[in-house]
Symmetry: C2
Subunit: 407 residues, 2 copies
DNA sequence: ATTAGTTCGTCAGGAGAGCGAACTAATGTC
DNA sequence: GACATTAGTTCGCTCTCCTGACGAACTAAT
């Protein structure tokens, strides 16, 4: 432990506080900022002045109506910097470009390159460049990109492990490859973890500091948000409930590639159950529609599925005691699912948590990736404890982003 | 969010750093402290001088032998303050008095008062006073007491919920009652959480920042240590795996008082299984002894039990991805258990964690309580953000503890 | 005994950051 | 037009830490 304490000079902490408040609560006067952050007027003054000089914030207008002198209000300068969020799905690739205030400027999606590895990197690079051009954003103003992808990201090697669904990424230095191609800082994380951040930022778990996100779809997975942060466990594999051995007979071998739970509760398992009953192969959506239409076989499959999920959720509750469980993913986002689940869940769980359907649906990971990228950018910009080196590479000879002076 | 940032004046952070270093690494010279903390010599000088003036640290000796001027070394003044740790078990009450450096000065244990409630408080009070007298410690020097107890502590009401094993505590303001009786600050937490802290401080999980502690004994419970802190969930009920519904048929009603898992995997369940097989009632220890002696029925019971535990542990692994799982409690502390478990566990879990037997055994909660009390005392003393008011109540007109001046 | 080299401890000066209080400026209300 | 109210600025002060210089104490070599 080489503890060293005033790592972050107080000023950086304060700056970051001001920026956060400004991002969260739109236009604010300096006095308002002072009240919210607890800093004094003068300190806020200095900070705002500096941020304005550096181009990060700008005057927004003046307050109106009340007695007393009118205040000048400030807001983040939206064009000062941008970030990219990417959701690398097994089938779909979603990319969004957002300004520093968190407004999405442009976005796109495409089928994921099936040829894998380098081809996916190329595809991502092309999509990002395309977005920037569409929005007229000089490439150098893009500060950070964040990527959500299935699998367990090993931050030491930069590899992505346990990602059977995306072909050809296993064993590659994904982090390095993407950083080199894009030319700026990147952040990589599990897509479910990204979804957690997304749901908390702009989804069903706002302001919630203890919740779990359970993704039901192609696979089954969980993201854990506890005490105000995503928890990843020792190797980044926390929440990999697909490997939890408590649905089938766990002592039976086989089923160890995708994990026993995943086997049964993924879209495939769902469809397989229906097929076993009817002889007809149908995707989950169809089965749900038929259940709604009153078909007995469909109802039976859904009922069995829902019971298993209720079992999983009550186990999650016993283990983690979340305030809320958000259910998402391809199947989980179906609005009727939670309704069907609840009675079973209530019967099983001792201290019940609230259960909600994902508010962001298929975009959860993407939104989360944006949030992570924004957060990373802000930390780098306003609380860096190392000398700042804004990467200014590759194309776009546009105006330089305002450089943050660091003494 | 009423964020306010320089809450802890920098000096307090620095002071705390110095104290921590001094606690950890025995006698140190000022220059050494400076090197370790990263503070400058002068800053350390000022802090040490102040701490010495206030009686918290004292000169220890001088360095010897090397070239150059000899340095004066300092260490914590052990008698400057004391804390009490208490483990309120269903059957046993354990109490220990420790100095600020973490050395246990005296300790005692007794059968828990079965008349419950106020009688237990009286008992605790009497034991604590007795310990202080034995050790010749004036009561006013005891800064904090920490209590580990079964059940879920509700920090809002001060009540202890879900504590069926300790009679007569339910529905009482335990926190308030204990504080009033002892006359100083107290901390209350679940006994398993205390054990977590204990195992990490001086047990099997030292230096480990992601681990789980699974207690197998009178009941079954888990404590979660993730990213460097105990995680309690939204209502303090995280880790209550006794309520996880995945061993018996979970959809069968009944079994909802103690939780389905607890029903089967507690000492009682264990003995009941043996009784069902042999017609003879025997406590778990006896069954284990007979298993070691080669009795088939005992072997069968142990085998079944061990398989269930392996199942639980592999689920824990899938959910939390710990680096390590420490198995403790009355049954769990038996050294042979982990050996029997391991093969099953390895077969079930995808990313295996290390599994160790508790190093502290029955004392885990007690040691943890001491650690928590110490930690609380240090924070109050050296990083308090509110004006310090050392409680100086009741008996013992001994020398006053050195008052920490706070401007 | 003298000298060199090393480490410890203190002092002085200065920089970064924050705060309270006093003061000026604008604006609405009676 | 007097007054209350709010916004913004300036000044002086405090806290805290750091750097650099320097003397003190000590070991090792000559």
């Amino acid at each position: 432990m080489t503890s060293s304490y005033p790592l972050q000079s107080t000023r950086q902490l304060s700056s970051q506080a001001v920026v956060e408040v400004l991002l969260r609560e739109a236009p604010l006067s300096r006095v308002q900022i002072a009240k919210i952050t607890g800093l004094s007027k003068q300190t806020v003054n200095e900070i705002v002045r500096q941020l304005e000089a550096e181009g990060w914030v700008s005057e927004h207008g003046t307050s109106q109506g009340d007695v007393g002198r009118r205040a000048v209000t400030y807001s983040m300068q939206p064009g000062a910097g941008f970030v990219i969020g990417v959701d690398v799905g097994a089938t779909k690739l979603r990319v969004a470009l957002s300004d520093l205030a968190g407004s999405v400027v442009s976005q796109a999606e495409d089928a994921t390159e099936l040829r894998g590895g380098p081809h996916v990197f190329d595809q991502i690079h092309a999509m990002c460049v395309g977005l920037a051009e569409d929005a007229g954003v000089p490439w150098a103003r893009i500060l950070t990109s964040a990527f959500g992808s299935p699998g367990v990201f090993n931050s030491e090697t930069g590899h992505l492990d346990l990602a059977p669904n995306v072909p050809g990424l296993e064993g590659l230095d994904v982090a390095g490859a993407l950083r080199d191609r894009l030319g700026h800082e990147i952040v990589l994380d599990n897509d479910v973890n990204m979804a957690v951040v997304g749901e908390r930022w702009r989804g069903a778990a706002r302001e919630c500091s203890n919740f779990a996100f359970v993704a039901l779809g192609t696979g089954i997975g969980m993201g854990i948000y506890m005490d105000g942060a995503v928890r990843r466990g020792a190797h980044g594999a926390a929440g990999e409930i697909g490997y939890a051995p408590f649905v089938n007979d766990p002592f039976q071998p086989s089923l160890h590639r995708h994990g026993p739970l995943e086997e049964k509760l993924s879209s495939q398992g769902f469809s397989a159950a229906y097929e076993a009953l009817t002889g007809e192969h149908a995707p989950p959506e169809t089965v749900f529609e038929r259940q709604a239409a009153g078909e007995p076989a469909a109802a039976q499959v859904v009922e069995a599925y829902v019971r298993q999920i209720a079992l999983v959720l009550s186990t999650v509750t016993a283990f983690l005691d979340p305030e809320l469980i958000v259910v998402g993913g391809g199947i989980g986002s179906r609005p009727e699912l939670v309704g069907e689940l609840l009675p079973h869940y209530r019967r099983l769980a001792a201290n019940t948590a609230e259960i909600r359907t994902s508010a962001l649906g298929a975009r959860a990971s993407l939104v989360g990736a944006i949030a992570v990228a924004l957060n990373h950018a802000h930390t780098r910009l306003f609380a860096a404890d190392v000398p700042q080196k804004l990467p200014l590479p590759t194309p776009g000879a546009g105006a330089e982003p305002p450089a943050r002076s660091v003494r």
